[in-house]
Amino acid sequence: MDFKADHFVLFGIKPTFRLDLSDLDSRYRDIQAQVHPDRFAHAGEAERRLSMQWATHANEAYQTLKKPLERAKYLLHLAGHDIQAESNTAMPPDFLMEQMEWREAVMEARDGGDHHELERLHNRLRNDISARYEELGQLLDDKAEFALATDRVRRLMFLEKLLHEIDDALASLEE
């Protein structure tokens, strides 16, 4: 058992995109119950340091597997398909057009203080994202189509960011 072992091995689960989140939660808690610094507050220096490293590692692994986008990126990384998020931003023009329309709609609703419209955009996007994760599950778990999955993940990165912006706009309207 070492830090180089992959996150799925750490939690003792199969490396799949579709996973049982409540099972992951309980495995995470079981591991923290063993390695957390609170378990070693009265131990020697070496054990305390080690416990901090392990607990840090378990937190990072859990955060990566818990969020679907991060989990998908991680699975692609394990399969040798890195996203190259920063160096490779070329996206098909129709997708970019669609993005621009979304953004305009969000900006308009935000500037007009239209809470209702922002909620509507949020829900629409949420549904769109869910459907895309369904597809991603098939590509990764059933078909092993990693190249296509990489493209879908890049799109989802745009959409998640957009969803975040809508949430921020909603939050600033509430304040």
Binding site: M1, D30, Q34, H36, D38, A41, H42, E45, L50, A55
Partner: protein
């Protein structure tokens, strides 16, 4: 295997011996100390049977100090030298402190943190807080009759790194071994949750004397998981006093008040605030030194209206914390009220209206934090109590970031990340032949560096000259379980490393602490060298105990040779610790640490493997329980 579990006579630490550990609520207005006795958390009272210690320190000209009720009683006599609400100054510069103009102290701006000029000399808030901690430590030692293995000290969840580090420094100055800095709302949740075997999502609304915290926690079987936290580390009951004070001045328009009168009036305002909890109207009257009389009446409705903005100021962070947790008010199963200021009816009403439910107030809001801290201290000290085996997963309250081009902040660790946590980020040089790089660490949510708290600046030197963009500098942030940050930077291609614990830019250096420690010892006529020796001996004892306990459990992970080596190192340490050479003791401790490194690794691996394999035999566990029944 069993052979190694037999300890030699006199060598075994009694495994069931109860270790003395305390929990301290170091509050803005009042502080408390609690411990677990016969399985029950209790507050330790002073000789007059009072659990609270007012967080007031008076400095006398001869350098002696008075802490608590006596100092509080005399605060109007000697306001310049009687420090109240010192917690508001911890890790803070003059520009961070609200109403600084109406305070009677002589402030001295030092790097990062203010200092106060008293007639006993210039005092750092860390030293003043240490006086309060010393008084509580003495109280605990007298009550428990023995040496303390350590203390859990609570801090507002919303305290940033500077404020946490200052608190830990104060504990060190007071001679306390800090087992953990624990967030106040989390401490309250422990006291509350364990008492009620609660499950579900809870909000802890903690309005203390000078700080406000909101934490959203998920309680599931034995796990307290903080989902999000928020607050205002400069908003509390004091501000309500101040609002009353301003209102009185408006009503009565007296001549400008002297420092003494001003402090006296502030005390009357506080009394009025407390009186209004159970009465419709409070009289506020005071004869000033010049004979003039202030005599006004404040009713509940007026009090509510002049403090309304303060209450809505607390609801902003509540909304934000819920949003961060991805929850709505109706998802919250219970709202726990903590802190004396939550006794105010208008606060309870506003919180009740927001969450659409009656807040929970069945535990004393003054004591609940100290009781939770004591419970946690008991667990951390290694007093296993069987049934109360729980796990606490807390978060960092504010994002950590680095300054990038144009004074912008690049976030490295987002707020509400579960601690301990670490994140590495890579940077590069932007000029040809650049050999040094400045790193500026900040904390906060804003986009501009100027709007965030500066934690540390340091420089990575010795980068080999390369073309711009060729160097790869990896900066690693590590936040430990106390919520404290350390940063290391390394140039990847050559391995040049620079490491700091984030301290220099605001706080006290180790030298300054050593100096303060020496001063306070001189005054207490305590021998600094004797105390340092004693500390090393206690630490050595603790280490021996921990190692022996580990050997008793897991000797099978070691070869006979390794066991012999560890045993010999323990024997050496025990022998050295019996003497009075502190340096030798520390060397012997380092040796034992070195010899047990591999052992520690194997033990950790074993326990993780055990969890994973235990997973597949869930049905067997049920069978075992069945047999016991």
């Amino acid at each position: 295997m069993a052979l190694f579990q037999i300890a030699e006579p006199g060598e075994s630490a009694a495994p069931h011996e109860h270790k003395l550990a305390i929990g301290i609520d170091l509050g803005t207005t009042n502080s408390l100390v609690a411990t677990v006795r016969s399985g029950l958390a209790v507050c330790l009272n002073d000789e007059q049977g009072r659990p609270l210690l007012p967080s007031v320190v008076r400095y006398h000209a001869d350098g002696s100090t008075e802490v608590g009720y006596d100092a509080q009683k005399n605060q109007a006599v000697d306001p310049k030298n009687t420090i109240v609400s010192v917690k508001r100054f911890m890790g803070r510069g003059t520009k961070d402190i609200a109403h600084i103009e109406s305070m009677p102290y002589d402030f001295v701006e030092a790097t990062g943190m203010v200092k106060l000029k008293t007639h006993a000399g210039i005092k750092s808030p860390v030293e003043t807080s240490a006086e309060i901690l010393k008084a509580l430590k003495a109280r605990a030692e007298a009550a428990l009759g023995g040496d303390l293995v350590g203390a859990v000290i609570t801090v507002p969840a919303y305290f940033d790194d500077a404020q946490r580090q200052a608190t830990k420094d104060a504990a060190r100055l007071a001679g306390l071994n800090v087992l953990r800095l624990l967030n106040e709302p989390t401490a309250a949740a422990i006291a509350y949750g364990l008492d009620n075997a609660a499950e579900g999502v809870y909000a802890v609304y903690d309005l203390g004397g000078g700080t406000f915290d909101i934490s959203i926690l998920k309680l599931t079987k034995g796990v307290f998981e903080v989902m999000s936290t928020g607050g205002d580390s400069a908003l509390g009951g004091d501000d309500f006093d101040h609002r009353i004070y301003c209102w009185v001045i408006e009503q009565a328009t007296p001549q400008p008040l002297s420092l003494e009168d001003s402090r006296r009036l502030m005390m009357r305002c506080r009394e009025a605030k407390e009186f209004l909890t159970n009465n419709p109207e409070a009289p506020i009257s005071l004869r000033l030194a010049n004979g003039e009389m202030i005599d006004v009446k404040l009713d509940v409705a007026t009090f509510a209206s002049i403090t309304q903005t303060l209450i809505s100021k607390t609801l902003q962070p509540v909304k934000k914390a819920l949003r961060d947790a991805g929850l709505r008010p109706e998802d919250v199963k219970g709202v726990v009220m903590v802190g004396g200021a939550t006794r105010m009816p208008q606060v309870q009403k506003a919180v009740g209206d927001f969450f659409r439910q009656e807040p929970l107030t069945n535990l004393d809001p003054d004591k609940v934090v100290a009781l939770g801290a004591a419970t946690q201290a008991n667990l951390l000290a290694g007093n296993k109590t069987g049934k109360d085996d729980w796990l606490l997963l807390d978060v960092i309250p504010l994002s950590l970031g680095l300054e990038t081009m144009g004074g912008l902040v690049e976030k490295v660790i987002p707020r509400n990340s579960t601690i301990p946590t670490a994140r590495a980020q890579e940077f590069t040089t932007f000029k040809d032949g650049q050999t040094a790089m400045a790193i500026h660490v900040v904390q906060g949510e804003r986009e501009m560096v100027a709007d965030c708290r500066s934690l540390a600046r340091f420089e990575l030197r010795g980068i080999p000259p390369m073309v711009a963009g060729a160097a790869r500098i990896r900066v690693t942030f590590q936040v430990d379980a106390d919520g404290l940050l350390s940063v290391t930077a390394r140039e990847q291609t050559t391995g040049v490393e620079s490491s700091i614990t984030v301290k220099p830019s605001y706080g006290l250096s180790d030298d300054e602490i050593a100096g303060m420690l020496k001063d306070s010892m001189e005054h207490a006529k305590e021998d600094a060298a004797a105390r340092a020796l004693k500390e090393s001996q206690v630490e050595a004892e603790r280490m021996i105990e921990a190692t022996e306990a580990a050997l008793a459990e897991d000797a099978h992970l070691l070869s006979a040779e390794e066991i012999a080596k560890i045993r010999a190192t323990i024997a050496k340490l025990r022998e050295t610790a019996a003497g009075d050479n502190r340096r030798q003791i520390n060397i012997a401790m380092d040796d034992l640490g070195y010899e047990t490194q591999a052992f520690a690794h194997r033990r950790m691996d074993q326990s993780i493997k055990k969890v994973l394999s235990g997973r597949k035999v869930d049905d067997i566990k049920v069978g075992e329980e069945g047999e016991q029944a």
